[in-house]
């Protein structure tokens, strides 16, 4: 490959000298045209002051200077640099420059160059993707990339070395090349500057792995001496439960499970929780969530809660255009009496529009009250992003948000404060959305064997309670055999169904009367919330608590629950049974004789059905845009008239005036006429 270049040079009378040998030879070649070279190098030097940012410019100035000093020297320099580049740059670059033959003189140069432009022919491989000049540019820009530490680049450094060599005219520079290089670098070294090689800089290297190890170590520092077995804390034995899950293929891995266990223990002692259970894991795009369901011992309201919403007061929203009746009704439904009072005062201040504003006749539904400590919000949920990380408490479910969460389908990102942007607008943080999904999943997939829970019949009669009937653990529960566990009718829901309204107990949003709860099975009735009269709103109802899961609606054509043995070969009495939900893929319950446990591992999305249509999430259609006023053909309520033109108006006025004059003339001069006349004016 050097042959071609050699031909070039000899034909252009530079001198013999193999290009492949060291710079000294090239130097000799270059001595006769030294001035021009120095020009070149000087130009390069000048350009090194810049940050190597304008790479294109540089290469063009290079080319320009090449033009002036002649192609040969330019070529030589390029070759020179290429060779030394080859020494110092990556193997890849070398390959690049070696695989292709020598770069020709830049072909993009305009043609005023008078010297013989030798078209050097090479054997370019047919499928070479880049042209030679472009390869050169690529190589150059690569060299011009600044190193991060020192903010210089190879290209500049090389040119400086060459300049120093040429300045000092050292013989055998190749032997002391390295020393020369260090010398050049030394000149640039500024101690204690921010970017210098950090001899004097104290660098605190924190590797991520180290930090992670620190976090995990803390988990292990549990003070076990203080904990007593009967502290009132119900801590699940996660290790043996996870054994069960492993049979079903649902494990998170022994290491992770153990660490989660330790982390949960720590959470329990910190917050003083009565009982807890590992609910599951939800995947997010950036980070995942580990979720723990907990029951609190006492009222503890002063901890930071994620997703706490300042419920917007309906009055503030509606800009004071309400009936007074509405105000009264809302009073009943207010959560905080204080806010109510404040708002009433504000209301009266806001009212008094200057012109009569039409009053809205449609009653907006009130904000539904949150269920606190019961029903859907019976348990608290804590989440953490990674094992060993801090636990965040999630706020209670807000019924409206739950309604909307049914209509949207969004991935979790892993950031609790992330705003969910969707249609219909969710207007909440990811923490709220997460909590809604957790609630829905729990309500739909928390199951237990028949007989484990029974209705608590001590507290009054069922009809009077507002919430779902409380259930307690059956102390006389006899474990079902494994065969029976396989049968889906032996499993029942033990978490109340969430009504379309977003709560487990019906609440009339218009609040005129307290409707009794309808606990019949079967048909659900949607509350028609846009009726004008509250009496027409019908209560919503859903399946009763403790109904067997075999009666759940089918998921199109596949059953909504599937049960199977976990192993093919084990005998039935030792074989754990795994019950999976198809509606919420990822929700599983595993049972073995008397032990059972549920978990959810997945991305928190519901599977709506089995047909090809249901795979597509069809968002709520946009509301109708306002149409223009449609004129009723039958009754012309509005008629258009053309405004009279000026002439017509004048004519009209003159007519009137004439008529008056006629009147005046008709009547004899009386006072009335005069008065009329003056009135007319």
């Amino acid at each position: 490959m050097s042959d071609a270049v050699n031909q070039d040079e000899t034909s252009e009378n530079i001198g013999g000298g193999e290009q492949t040998i060291a710079p000294t030879d090239v130097e000799d070649n270059n001595v006769p045209v030294e001035n021009n070279e120095e020009n070149n190098v000087a130009v390069n030097e000048g350009n090194t002051e810049q940050d190597g940012g304008d790479k294109e410019e540089k290469s063009t100035t290079n080319e320009d200077s090449n033009k002036t000093s002649g192609e040969e020297s330019g070529e030589n320099i390029e070759n020179n640099e290429e060779k030394t580049e080859g020494n110092e740059a990556n193997n890849d670059e070398e390959k690049v420059s070696e695989e292709k033959t020598e770069p020709p003189p830049p072909q993009e140069e305009p043609k005023p160059v008078e010297e013989n432009v030798k078209k050097i022919t090479f054997s370019i491989p047919k499928d070479c993707v880049l042209t030679e000049t472009e390869e050169l540019l690529v190589a150059k820009t690569f060299l011009m990339k600044n190193s991060e530490k020192t903010n210089t680049n190879t290209y500049d450094h090389m040119s400086q070395i060459i300049m120093s060599i040429l300045d000092s005219k050292i013989d055998n520079a190749v032997d002391i090349f390295e020393t020369l290089s260090t010398q050049v670098k030394k000149k640039k070294f500024v101690p204690d500057s921010f970017n210098s090689f950090g001899e004097f800089r104290y660098v605190k290297e924190t590797k991520e792995e180290l930090e992670d190890a620190h976090v995990k170590m803390e988990l292990f520092q549990v003070d076990n001496e203080d904990g007593h077995a009967d502290d009132g804390n119900e801590m699940p034995d996660l290790m043996s439960i996870s054994n069960l899950f492993e049979w079903a293929g649902l494990s998170l891995g022994k290491e992770e499970t153990f660490l989660i266990n330790a982390s949960m223990q720590r959470l329990m002692t910190e917050k003083g929780l009565k009982s807890m259970r590992f609910w599951g894991k939800i995947y997010g795009t950036k980070k995942n969530y580990y979720i723990v369901e907990a029951d609190q011992k006492d009222e503890d309201d002063d901890e930071e809660v994620y997703g706490e919403d300042d419920l917007p007061n309906p009055e503030e929203e509606e800009e004071g255009n309400l009936d007074n009746e509405n105000d009264d009704e809302k009073e009943k439904e207010k959560e905080n009496e204080n806010e109510n009072d404040e708002n009433e005062v504000q209301e009266s201040q806001i009212e008094e529009p200057e012109y009569p504003v039409p009053k809205i006749k449609i009653k907006k539904p009130n904000t539904l009250t949150k269920e606190i400590k019961t029903g859907i919000n019976k348990y608290m949920y804590y989440v953490c992003n990674y094992v060993g990380g801090p636990w965040y408490k999630l706020a209670d479910v807000i019924p409206e948000k739950l309604q909307i969460s049914r209509k949207i389908r969004k991935y979790f990102t892993g950031d609790l404060n992330h705003e969910i942007i969707s249609y219909p607008p969710f207007e909440g943080s990811e923490a709220q959305y997460l909590r809604c999904q957790i609630a829905r999943i729990s309500a739909a997939t928390s199951i237990c064997p028949t007989g484990y829970y029974v209705f608590d019949t001590e507290d009054g009669e069922p009809e009077d309670t507002e919430g779902p009937q409380p259930i307690i653990v059956n102390t006389e529960f006899e474990a079902l055999s494994n065969d029976q566990l396989l049968d889906l009718s032996n499993w029942v829901h033990h978490v109340p169904y969430i009504l379309p309204q977003g709560k487990t107990s019906w609440e009339n949003p218009f609040g005129s009367e307290e409707d009794e709860e309808n606990e019949e099975e079967g048909s659900e009735e949607e509350g028609s919330e846009e009726e004008n009269e509250a009496e027409r709103v019908e209560p919503e109802s859903g399946p009763q608590l403790l109904t067997p899961i075999s009666q759940d609606d089918e998921n199109d054509d596949i059953p909504s629950w599937v049960s199977k043995y976990c192993s093919r070969t084990l005998a039935p009495q030792f074989n754990p049974v795994c019950i999976s939900s198809t509606r919420w893929p990822g929700a599983h319950t595993v049972a073995l004789s008397d032990k059972f446990s549920s978990i959810y591992i997945g991305d928190g999305m519901k599977c709506y059905g089995n047909t090809y249509l249901s795979a597509y999430h069809i968002p709520q259609p946009l509301t109708n845009i306002m149409t223009e006023y449609q004129e009723n053909e039958v009754e012309k309520e509005i008629t258009e008239q053309i405004d009279p033109t000026v002439e017509e108006e004048k004519a009209f006025e003159e007519e009137q005036a004439e008529k008056l004059r006629e009147k005046e003339e008709d009547e004899e001069g009386t006072e009335e006429e005069e008065e009329e006349g003056s009135e007319e004016d």
Binding site: K55, E56, D92, K95, V96, V129, L130, E134, L137, V138, A139, T141, F142, K145, K207, E208, E209, L210, E211, D212, A213, Y283, G284, T285, K286, K287, N288, R409, K410, Y411, S422, D556, D557, I558, P559, V562, K564, R568, T582, P585, D603, M605, N610, T611, Y612, L613, S614, A615, Y616, H617, P619
Partner: protein, 225 residues
């Protein structure tokens, strides 16, 4: 083991095997990891039909699917689950199978080899999506700007970069274990994940991927992000 496709009643384990030509692969499936059956090859038309099916896999290989739009006369055989398996695997492989940059290289005869000396990606490269490629044929080196090109090495940049996958964010990259492992999950085919542990002084470089999911493409990806 290529992965596992969960069906309603039973799951399928899929094994993948190949010879010299890495793009020509054969697949075997099994419901109980003991008896393995080979999956049939499918044609383009069948592939189109299969991509219309969005129901769950049942678990019975001979189950036949009713296609939603039977425009064509019923000359073709209805799609049965075996064929659907085969089609789904093909689609998944085309869409999401990835490898780290540098793990395969191309020699002068344009043949692709596995790089036994691959040591893994550096810390910075690990978290950058551009260091991962789609493992599929039909790649054209794109040379837009010079800046792009300086990093290209023709011997290892032989596949499509996953950075350009639309929509943005369809790959979820997570660092586990304090930075020692990387997992890349695909949101387009939920259940496909790829992991990579770069080599350090103490451990070997590993990477691998597999599919563990329901075999249903996530068509709602755009609105879910």
């Amino acid at each position: 083991l290529w992965g596992r496709i969960l069906g309603v009643q039973k799951d399928y384990f899929i094994a993948q095997c190949w010879n010299d030509d890495i793009f020509d692969r054969k697949y075997f499936y099994s419901t109980d990891t003991i008896t393995w059956l080979q999956l049939p090859e499918i044609t383009e038309e069948e592939l189109k039909d299969i991509s219309q099916i969005y129901s769950r896999f049942i678990g019975d290989p001979s189950y036949e699917y009713q296609l939603p739009n039977p425009n064509q006369p019923q000359e073709k055989e209805p799609i049965n689950e075996e064929k659907r398996l085969s089609g789904v695997i093909k689609m998944i492989n085309y869409d999401v199978e990835i490898i780290p940059r540098g793990s395969y290289y191309q020699d002068r005869l344009k043949k692709i080899h596995f790089n036994y000396k691959f040591k893994g990606l550096s810390e910075k490269e690990m978290i950058d999506l551009t260091s991962y490629f789609h493992f599929r044929s039909g790649f054209k080196l794109s040379l837009d700007t010079i800046e792009d090109r300086i990093d290209i090495d023709q011997s290892i940049d032989i596949f499509d970069n996953i950075e350009k996958d639309k929509p943005d964010g369809t790959w979820s990259l997570q660092v586990e274990h304090g930075g020692s492992t990387i997992t890349l999950k695909s949101l387009l085919w939920p259940g496909y994940f790829f992991f990579h542990t770069p080599r350090t002084a103490m451990r070997q470089c590993k990477f691998g991927s597999m599919y563990n999911g329901y075999g249903i493409k996530n068509v709602n990806l755009g609105i879910m992000l």
